[in-house]
């Protein structure tokens, strides 16, 4: 499940009002999420959740579900 907070961070960065983000959603399916913008979204997530990703961790994430799992592993419950 994609958390509301992650959804808001992504939508805000892409200046989107609404988009249905699912675990399986991949970047290219989301309007505006291109290779140049990708890094801005990653930076926005790092800032929004006060976490720091490792390069390899981001490269391994295949979809938004993977990104959510990665955040969950770093944010203390």
């Amino acid at each position: 499940m994609i958390s509301d907070k992650l959804k808001q961070v992504i939508l805000k960065e892409l200046e989107l009002k609404e988009f249905n983000l699912q675990d399986e959603t991949i970047a290219s399916q989301v309007p505006g999420w291109d290779s140049l913008n990708h890094i801005n979204i990653i930076l926005a997530i790092e800032k929004g959740f006060s976490i720091k990703f490792k390069g390899l961790e981001i490269l391994k994430a295949k979809n938004i579900g993977d990104l959510q799992k990665l955040i969950d592993s770093k944010v203390p419950a």
């Binding site: 140049l36 890094i39 990653i42 390069g55 390899l56 490269l59 391994k60």
Partner: protein, 499 residues
Amino acid sequence: MPQAIDFGKLFSLFTYDKYDPLLFGSSLFFFFFLFVLLVQRLFSNQKALRIYSLLFFSLFFYYKAAGIYLLLLVFSSAFNFYFGKLIYESKTALLKKIFFATALVVNLGLLGYFKYTNFFLQILTDLKLGTIEPLKIFLPIGISFFTFKALSYVIEIYLEMFEPVKSFRDFSLFIFFFPNVLMGPIDRASAFLPQIEEDNPITKEDVGRALFLISCGLIKKYAIADYIALNFDERVFGFPLRFTGVENLLAIYGRALQGYCDFSGYTDMALGVGLLLGFKLMDNFNRPFKARSVGDYWRRWHLSLSTWLLDYLFKPLQISFRSMRKWGTALAIFFTFFAVGLWHGPNWTFISFGILHSIYLIFGMFTQSIRKKFTDSIKITGTKFHKFLQVVFTFHLLAFTAILFGSPSLQYSLDMIHQIFTFFHPEVFPQFVQAYTTVFVLIVFGYLVHFLPKSVEEKAQNLVIKMPVFFQAVLFAAVIWVVVQFKSAAMMPFIYFQF
């Protein structure tokens, strides 16, 4: 009296000749491929034999192009197969890193040695750091393509996107596969290898599509690209100062089309040949001149290379430079396109080509919002007129890089630009059309077809797929007839062979 068979000549058909590889479109390839299909058909119920015979034919095909350097291809396959395993089975992260780094160093080291040694020696000489005679190094054809293909396998395993294959036989087929070994597409292991597992039967639709692709490829390569190159472009690019600016400009338009038809023609044939053997290869082109920005162009041109570099070079760089925000992305773009230039060959024209593309993209990124504000203020954003302007402007930026791509050296590029800006003489245009009517018609025809909506191509393809076999055969014969009419006595090698 019947003539005796010249066994020496017959034997030479099966041996390596540097000047005579098995080019797609040559009559020898045609008979070779018919034989391959026959054998595949014979073994249609025996998968193992089918794969072994394909391995054998692929090795023979590569041997015809590179001789003894066939061993390099075999080494690449064995090395990357075992290193894929080692990376996957590593118990610690450090060990995994060490194996991965070794795989990168060996693959890139071999590519660097064969392709760039003399270039670097020349740089050392130019910088007066010593005079070193160039070494006699043979460039194994296709090395940039199969090295990148093999690298995609170890990288995907390292990134845990793909599990290593168990069968060395299957992995070797991925590396050796003759339709894409010399000039791509640079297929991904994760897309190709499962197809061997699945072993899907070849359908009537596949055959129709293959026929359509091979026909398009033959026409693009032999009727358009080679004809324009031999009869007009090479003359102008060889001696730009002998021609007026308007002829130089037309040669550049011709060169852009020729480059596209040559490479995408080859790819069409590779895709068609692959389909007839039961494999769907990655498509490489999506009407590149319809691009509305240079970024858009790289999502339409040589896709198997651009997505490779995007995934395995640009993204890692962009992530490591992320603290610099936009400047970090700019740096990642620069390094990636420097690599694009260098990948094409050890020549400053190619490197300048790559750097110029990076400048376009970086400039585009920094001016995006200003440009949008401007088009908003004159109320054209998103209109058809705006799109038209974007396509025309992008095309000319690309045509400008075609000068660098097609010139023997930077001086020639400068001469062409000089002629266009100081010796244009538009009044020569009617004489050009008169003297080079076929070339002119082919350039106009080529661009017209390129800009047709995609649905027209799909309809034409479906028509061929649904045709009765007899009409398909007639159509194919007609294509061959047309190609023979255009084909010159000496076949031109594909431009991308040198890479």
